[in-house]
Symmetry: C2
Subunit: 458 residues, 2 copies
């Protein structure tokens, strides 16, 4: 490889500005992986390229096609499924320097952005117009719009405002061979031809490189009411989710936190919620209906043993903001795995019981947070590295068991994080051979040499 | 063809129940077209098949593949783009008898339906659980869920609740060769693999036959407030749309009706709105925020010369319900064409002026209704068959001009009706060669013999 390798770098240097190609150890290392679990030593990429314009991306893809070298698009690397993990020879196309907000059109309620714009930056920029970019993965202060689109990211307020797909109008995409196409439409509605914008959304860098996005904005709510609700048990909290649904309230945010996670938060923030009960719901009601919805929630739980925060309680808001910027965990490692199943809403109590059984059987620890309004659960399994026999085998069985149980209840292996590398073996548990094959055929159509993030997502 | 034809019918008879194959003239005629314009005499299909179960659909597709005979899936035939128009030898697969609501799961807020279920029937069935199926094309009392999915139908309350795509969770699809696959997921969120459910949604029967849909339901609003607003001019009404947006109100329904359409409604319903002003907005505010939103609307228009209906005015509700079940027109014919562009919201006044200019230049009549909350406009151009020279050429130029002007403003040729047959030549005005080609490649992948509604949609 080493001759071919210096050829490749030589060619890239001819096509791109000097400083856009970085080969330093530290940058290679930083760009070798995401927040997802990794087994063994990370593999270093051949080079990291930092394009600053669309033409650079096209040049990289042309060179990659000519040399049959895999290219891994990378936003901020906050993915948790190993979507940007390097596996063999590969160039990292790091889009973080294409970070311009090209235009905000407040009266059209849209924005046009480069892929490397940080979610939070876009939200800050549009807030002055009374607008927001709704999808808000808990990584929103770090992750990029391009990465959010490539994973079809969810987030907290997606319960009410929809996932990333619902905010993507059109995309400029560089194809494997370097051609630039525009898919989708620049209007709120549009049904001309097939929904290619949805096909690229969530395709995890395997079909093309998103170089520009035309996104829909929503109205910043005129009112927000935050509530924390402490329940005696996890079961009671899950019932609470159903109770809110029965009142026909669609919260902007509806998060469930289990006892073990409450303890983590208490430690991090010197609070003492753990002494109050066994599980919490964090609820944000927004818009013109927020006040009436708050009253309806209070009504619904009046005669129950729920401890509801007072109206306007700053602590509830602080808790929600805490949750909005954390998964309850940092990087997964060999001893800790965070999952991301989604299941039908009515099966949550049942599912949590199965998780508890699994953890007990395998003698591992489990805690859980959940975007409960959408039935999207994030159980985390972990073991103490110093404790017991066959640690990793037990952890592995618990994790796989949790995914199988979700599927048995009609769920999916990934609600919002994407398949990446880590969930690839599980895809066949969920989808039929025909459907798997069809996806490989679509991939082959768009990327016949299999150089766009090969081995990921499908 | 006649030998091959009797062979085909013979084979179908062997595979399907006797009464599912209909060859009578009247049924062939009824099934030869939709509500869209047709030039010349309609072409009769070879046969109309009424499957009552998935196996029948698979059998038809196997026979069609073996005989290389095109199959046109048909719901209720309320399409307005000629999506089901017969052009040559073809079998109509009429799904209207697969009309069972298979299951409603109120606690999961989902329903499972056969494709022939009428939109309105599903809504009636789920209402008893306090739920609704949100997408409501103005044809909702006639059109089928399968047809709605195949066209990614919009509707009135899509401004707030999203188009059909946003309510489709998973689909069972019979492929060209008769294989049955399931795409999508049965949960609210899910990102496993590519978004194939979105690919089939809006594909107008060209990629597969939808035989079962797993759809998301929404909460029936606890409150609804209907307003009619009469403005002195169309321009003022469009400004009114912006004014409502500025108040950060997201109405469930926000329809604009021009003077000419008001006159039609006045005639149909013996009312006299035309004497009050030049254009109307019909507004439905719903949910917990409805009351406060109504107050905000009244505030925003307090010092203007808008005539706002009184709170709880039954006439406003009647107007909205009138609009919810009509396009303002019936079947298009040679002398009348209804269009369906969508444009950026801020360009509406500009666009309407261009439409008026066009109508004047070509000396044709124009009227317009609009799902104004989404920037989706339905201008209708029409001429009196007895009036003037070169009628059809003038009409044609006005229609094509209106579409080109929409594209020039950053719009799309079809907001919700689909490309079908009628808008096919225009697709190349909107999309690049690469994008057109990519869609044909996807089509060829799924339907290599080109027997699924050939010549439509792309
Ligand atoms: C603390 C924390 C909280 C999180 N919370 C959530 C959450 O609530 N919801 C959620 O959905 N996720 C969450 N995540 C996961 C992650 O943040 C999201 O998947 C995010 O969308 C990734 O964005 P990124 O810019 O970091 O992309 P990366 O991790 O760099 O890449 C993710 C995938 O997208 C591809 N990609 C990136 N940019 C492009 C591009 N321009 N064109 C084509 N492909 C591209 C990559 O190849 C890779 O497959 C969380 C992660 C962390 C660490
Ligand atoms: C009065 C009136 C008002 C209307 N208002 C609206 C509106 O507000 N919004 C809007 O979007 N549309 C509207 N339309 C257009 C039309 O009603 C919609 O496109 C509707 O979704 C068509 O449903 P259908 O069952 O009649 O389908 P059809 O007209 O029978 O078929 C439409 C397309 O879908 C395909 N198809 C049908 N069933 C299936 C299936 N099971 N599998 C695969 N392909 C299939 C057909 O091949 C065809 O391409 C209106 C039409 C009328 C007449």
């Amino acid at each position: 490889m080493s001759d071919a390798y210096s050829d490749l770098v030589e060619t890239l240097r001819r096509e791109l500005p000097e400083d856009s190609i970085v080969l330093s150890d530290s940058v290679l290392r930083e760009n070798s992986r995401d927040f997802g679990q990794i087994s063994g030593e990370p593999v270093m990429p051949l080079a990291v390229v930092f394009p600053t314009e669309v033409g650079h991306v096209q040049a990289v893809m042309r060179v990659a096609t000519a040399n049959r070298i895999p290219v891994i698009s990378r936003g901020a690397g906050t993915g948790v499924s190993g979507g940007v993990h390097v596996q063999g020879d590969a160039v990292i196309l790091n889009l973080s320097k294409m970070d311009k907000i090209i235009e905000i059109r407040p009266h059209d309620e849209v924005a046009i952005v480069e892929p490397g714009v940080i979610n939070h930056h876009l939200n800050t920029a549009v807030a002055q117009f009374g607008l927001m970019y709704a999808p808000d993965p808990a990584s929103y202060k770090m992750s990029t719009i391009g990465g959010n689109i490539a994973t079809n990211a969810g987030g907290l307020r997606c319960a009410k405002y929809g996932v990333t797909r619902e905010s993507v109008l059109s995309l400029d995409v560089v194809l494997a061979d370097g051609r630039l196409i525009r898919v989708g439409k620049n209007t709120f509605k549009g049904v001309a031809g097939y929904d290619l914008a949805a096909l690229f959304t969530g395709s995890e860098g395997t079909l093309g490189v998103v170089v520009r996005a035309f996104v829909r904005l929503r109205y910043l709510p005129v009112d927000e009411r935050d509530l924390s609700m402490v329940f005696p048990s996890l079961e009671a909290a899950v019932e609470g989710v159903q109770q809110i649904a029965k009142s026909r309230i669609q919260p902007a945010i509806l998060e469930l936190i289990d006892y073990s996670t409450i303890c983590v938060l208490d430690q991090q923030y010197s609070t003492d919620y753990a002494s109050l009960g066994g599980a919490m719901l964090l609820v944000r009601l927004d818009g013109y209906g927020a006040e009436r919805e708050e009253a309806a929630v209070r009504d619904a739980f009046m005669s129950s043993d729920v401890q509801l925060s007072k109206s306007g309680d700053a602590a509830a808001t602080r808790l929600i903001e805490m949750r909005r910027t954390s998964r309850g965990d940092t990087k997964d490692d060999a001893y800790r795995t965070g999952e991301d199943v989604a299941i039908p809403k009515s099966r949550m109590v049942e599912y949590v019981h199965r998780l508890q059984d699994l953890a007990r059987e395998e003698n591992v620890n489990m805690r859980m947070i959940s975007h409960a309004g959408d039935g999207n659960l994030h159980p985390t399994f972990f073991v103490d590295p110093t404790e017991g026999e066959q640690l990793l085998a037990r952890l592995h069985r618990a994790v796989e068991g949790s995914v199988k149980e979700a599927l048995a209840l009609g769920g999916t292996i990934t609600g919002e994080h994407g398949v990446g590398l880590i969930k690839k073996d599980w895809l066949a548990w969920e989808q039929s051979d025909e459907v798997l094959q069809l996806q490989h055929q679509i991939k082959a159509l768009l990327d016949p040499l299999n150089i766009l993030n090969p081995g990921k997502a499908i």
